[in-house]
Every structure is written in structure tokens, then in C-alpha cells.
Symmetry: C2
Subunit: 341 residues, 2 copies
């Protein structure tokens, strides 16, 4: 049996099925303007019976309103950005806005492509990770004609709005805590990613503070690839073998830091008596380790929520204050690998 090749339904179909003009059908379906209860009911019934799904492409073209929000992030391979995205998604859920995700792999040229692609949908807002962009990307964002929220990081010049933490300050705060606890032979374990500006800024804030106290990083170890416990163990082993006199290890993220906790436990090294440890991110799913790693919360979910709220707010009321920077303050979680006095 041959089914008539069902082209997608249009307003006209609903109009014919209900005997109401297209225009009025459109009004009912968008809850716009006054329509009598009777017609409203007929239209709704017809739309439902037919299984009509409106065509937003046509709608958006006609109204020049788009319910899409572009979200541009460097990666989905650890929990950081999914958590941000989750915050965005839940905050957007009530507003009728939809996130569209683009992943850049930390590559500026990919960011350019992804932005171009997304802006071609004329989204209602752009949420983009980081303050560092290629000139072309920056130009696109400046001329995007919609709110632009740069997230994660506040150390730099935002194009428009900005929500994040100061990674430089986070590095500084951790360095101060470490020094204050009397550690002096400090090792750093981190990622080999020149394009991860936030990791770089934390490192800069960290070393600058040490320098002010006349101290330099005593040794360091870098890696590439995903952050995982095993990687953290391996790096810790390597570093401690090479520089056995280190009394503190600062990790660029909690996953490898947790690996350090496990490795030192396995080696029977006293923590934090002999060696202190700290990470970064506040990965709560690691609570429950034998020792709780000292860390700093990066406020990921909240950043997502606030960024989404800014976009949603401006969509509702375009006259809202522009270009504000919301700097959140990550709190230091001492855990039990840092404090020794």
C-alpha cells in the first residue's frame, strides 16, 4: 500500500483542517493576540490531530527572532565543560531558548569556524569559553548583534559580558596557602597545553606569588592526553623519583592530583607531613578518596547558569545593563593534604 509522500505539514494544512485562516492559526499556535476561545479550541484540536510541528526556520526568518543560543567550548572530554553546559541547559530550559554546542578542541582556527557557523544562525546569544580569540573571531563577536558572554575566565578584556573566576588569582591564592603552611620545595604537575589559557594563568599567578617570596618551582612535569588517575600516579612517581626532596606537589587538575594521593599512599609517603598536595577544580565526584585533596572550586555549574541567565535576561529585555563582568570567587577547599600546622 502506497502512502502519499507526506510532505511536512504547514500552517495551511492546519488552516484547511480547521477552517480558520492561516493568520489566526498562527496566532493560536504562538499564543499571540486575542483569539476567541472557540476558534482557539478548534485550531488546537486540528493541529494536534494532524501532528503539526511548526517550521521555525520560516518563523524565524519572518520574525527575525531565533531561540537558539550558541555555546562554544573547547572540549567535552572531562567533566568541566559538560558541567558548565549542564548549568546553561537547565537555566535555559524554562525560557524557550535552546543551546547549540560547538567544540573547538582548544584550536583558535576551529573556534573561528565554529563561530562563523553558529553566527550564521543569527542566535539570540553567544556563550563562549575564554577571553582569548583570534582577530577574526573577535571581529565576528563584536558584530554579532546579540549578547556575547565570555565565560570561565575574567583575566582580560571582555567583548561584552563576562562570567568566571580569575585564574591568576586562583593560582596566587593557592600559592599563598602553600607558603603560609611552610612548604618550600614545590613541584608542579600539569598539562602540556599552550592553548589552555586558564591553566597558564593559574600557573603564572602561582609562580609570581612564589617568586615574591623568593621561591621558584623546584621541578615540574607535564603531560598530554586526558586527565586520569593513572596519569597522575605515573607523573607523581616520575617527579618524586627525580626530585625526592620536594615537599609539595601542585597539580593543574584534581584528577591527576587524586592520582598523586593514591601514588603517595601506595609509596607510604606521609601526606601532608612529608609532602603536601593540591589540585584544582573541585571535582566533587572524587570525595571519598582516602585523603581529601586540597583544591579550589572553579564554579563551573554556576558560571553556566549565570551566563545563561544573562542571555535570557537580555532576550527578554534588551535594555538590560550591558557589558558587566561577574567575577565569582572560588573558595579554597583545604581537604587534608595541605594544612600541616
Amino acid at each position: 500500500m502506497t502512502v502519499p509522500p507526506r510532505r511536512p505539514l504547514t500552517l495551511r494544512d492546519v488552516s484547511e483542517a480547521s477552517g480558520v485562516s492561516e493568520m489566526t492559526v498562527s496566532r493560536v499556535l504562538r499564543d499571540k493576540g486575542d483569539v476567541s476561545e472557540a476558534t482557539r479550541a478548534r485550531v488546537k484540536a486540528a493541529a494536534k490531530r494532524l501532528g503539526y510541528v511548526p517550521n521555525r526556520i520560516a518563523g524565524s526568518l519572518a520574525s527575525s527572532r531565533v531561540n537558539l543560543v550558541a555555546v562554544v567550548i573547547p572540549s567535552l572530554k572531562n567533566m568541566v565543560f559538560p558541567e558548565v553546559l549542564s548549568g546553561i541547559s537547565e537555566t535555559l530550559a524554562g525560557t524557550g531558548l535552546q543551546p547549540v554546542v560547538g567544540v573547538t578542541d582548544y584550536l583558535p582556527e576551529r573556534e573561528e569556524e565554529v563561530l562563523f557557523e553558529m553566527l550564521s544562525w543569527r542566535p539570540s546569544g553567544v556563550i563562549v569559553a575564554g577571553l582569548e580569540h583570534s582577530e577574526a573571531s573577535r571581529a565576528m563577536l563584536v558584530r554579532a548583534g546579540c549578547p556575547v558572554v565570555e565565560i570561565m575566565d575574567t583575566d582580560g578584556d571582555p567583548i561584552d559580558a563576562c562570567v568566571g573566576i580569575s585564574h591568576r588569582r586562583a593560582g596566587r591564592t593557592m600559592a599563598e596557602a602553600i607558603l603560609e603552611q611552610g612548604y618550600r620545595r614545590i613541584g608542579f604537575l600539569g598539562t602540556k597545553m599552550p592553548l589552555d589559557h586558564r591553566a597558564r594563568k593559574r600557573f603564572e599567578g602561582f609562580t609570581a606569588t612564589l617568586a615574591r617570596a623568593g621561591i621558584e618551582i623546584a621541578d615540574r612535569e607535564f603531560y598530554s592526553g586526558g586527565s586520569a588517575l593513572a596519569k597522575g600516579r605515573e607523573m607523581t612517581r616520575t617527579l618524586m623519583a627525580r626530585s625526592p626532596d620536594l615537599d609539595f606537589l601542585y597539580y593543574s587538575n584534581d584528577m591527576i592530583g587524586a592520582g598523586g594521593v593514591l601514588e603517595l599512599a601506595a609509596q607510604g609517603v606521609e601526606v601532608p607531613g612529608r609532602v603536601g598536595l593540591a589540585g584544582f577544580n573541585g571535582v566533587e565526584l572524587l570525595d571519598g578518596l582516602p585523603r581529601q585533596l586540597a583544591t579550589m572550586d572553579a564554579c563551573r555549574r554556576e558560571i553556566g547558569q549565570r551566563a545563561a541567565a544573562i542571555v535570557a535576561g537580555r532576550v527578554t529585555d534588551p535594555d538590560l545593563a550591558r557589558a558587566a563582568t561577574e567575577e565569582l570567587t572560588p573558595r579554597l577547599a583545604w581537604g587534608d593534604t595541605l594544612r600541616r600546622r
Copy 2:
């Protein structure tokens, strides 16, 4: 100083700036049709100079082609779906297709809303987690007019294409391994989520296999909320206190299972001699724990990649084979918490 309210640029602007007709400009910008090298260069230069970003809304309406792929998933709060999404995103990256993400929170009614929303963009494909949908959702998917790939799970009737693993079989396989190793007093620790059909199916496959050997789950413990090490520790403590004679603990995911590993280590319980353990998911970031938890890989990234490839393939060639189910085989990772003979 007043800037002229820069309306977004149109093809016409590029046309005027380059002295080439709109149509030819359009051709150049889409790399379609034959255009002389000279005009092509002039158009490209003009577009670049102006910073022209095409309007895909108009383009899609005119061509009835949309480069969006709807991705509908239940959650972003653990690594499972971000990994799938990452697989989708990387496979789509080369194809010009863009993922649009919708999160349902495991609620059928949210799934309905999200699907309606997404289908209104007339996407080139839909990738949706799970085979269980409300009647309305199913109806929408059937009539979507684009490839529909249901992912994660193959136990059920797919609407169109399907990529995943059999969770029932995964539960069965694990049960067989556990029985074969001689365990008999088996406890289950899992999530209290009636709407997580995959967890339910694993549990069903698991208990059915035990039943065939005349064995019942000896005790069980459920929780709600995020999966985390601490939760796993706590549940393990509770369960072992209540039923100290258990000789095996089967966890519904690796995070809580890893908590179990840590808790039993802390209690000095011999693993797997006294108690064996297994989880589910193959969360590689947990490699590095004192003992490697037995688990089964859910093939998350690969599922995402294959689903995206199916969509991309059908977009390129609409006559491609339809409605195939790709069942992947999760491999059992024995780790060192399961084998005792």
C-alpha cells in the same frame, strides 16, 4: 559619536560591494556552480572585507536543507552522555553538520517538549537516547522526515536506525561471570531511577541469570543523586553492615563501585577473596585505583561516532540502507576484583 545601527549584512550588500549579482555571490559563497576565477576572487574579497556572515535561516528555508542534527539525551551530569556527545561532535565536525543538544532529565514529558522543539528546526537527523518514548514522542519521530537514530540500547523496537549495546545481555554476562567464579551471596547497589531503562534492563538480565541458577539477590541498596565515590562508600558500608555474609557486590555504575573498592580497602576486607566487586561503564578515568574494578565497557564514544556517521551518511546519500540496528558488544574487563580462581 553615533554609529549607523548596523543591521546584519545581506547578500545584497556583498553584491553591491563587489558589483556582482546576488545569485553569483551566493554561488561563490556556497562553492556551487561554475563561476569564473576573477569574479570568485572579487566576491570573496568583498565578503571578507565586509565581514559577511550568511544567513542560514533564509538559506535553509529556500533550499529546505538544514545542517542541524538534534541530539536528545537524558542528562549531562555524569561522563556517560558527554562522552557520547563528544563522539557525535567529532564525527560531525568534518561534515558541516552541527549538533543541537536537548536534555530531558529522564522525563518522558520533557523528551516530548524537547523533541517538538528540535523537530521544529527540521533537522537533518535526530539522535535520541533510548528506545522507550511516549506515544506522542514516537509519533513525532516516525513522522520526522529525517533519519532517526536511537542510541545506547538495543533491547526493543527501534523506529529507524539503532546503535547501542544490549543492557540485558550486559547484565546477563556479568552474572554469568560472577556465578562462574563461585560467588553465591550477591548484593546489588544501584540507582533509584525507575525511568533509567538501561539500568533496569541490566538489572533484569542480571537477576534473570541468577534465577536460572537458583539464586536471588541477597540484599540491595538504592540511592538517588549523583554517582560519586563517597556515595559508593556509604552504600557499601550500609549494605555490608546489614548483610555481612555477602560475597559479591554488583554496582550499577563504576563511580559507586570505585567507592566500594575504597571502602572495603579501608575496612581491610580482602578483595576479591572475601568479597568480589563489579561495576558498569568502563570509566577509564578511574584506572589507577588501588584495585582495578571489574566492569563492562558501554562503548559510549563509539556509539556517538556511529550514530553520527549514520546520520551523515544518509544526508549524503538518502538511499542508504535504512533501519539497521548496530549492536556493539561490550567487553568484560576483569580488573582485579572479580576473578578468584
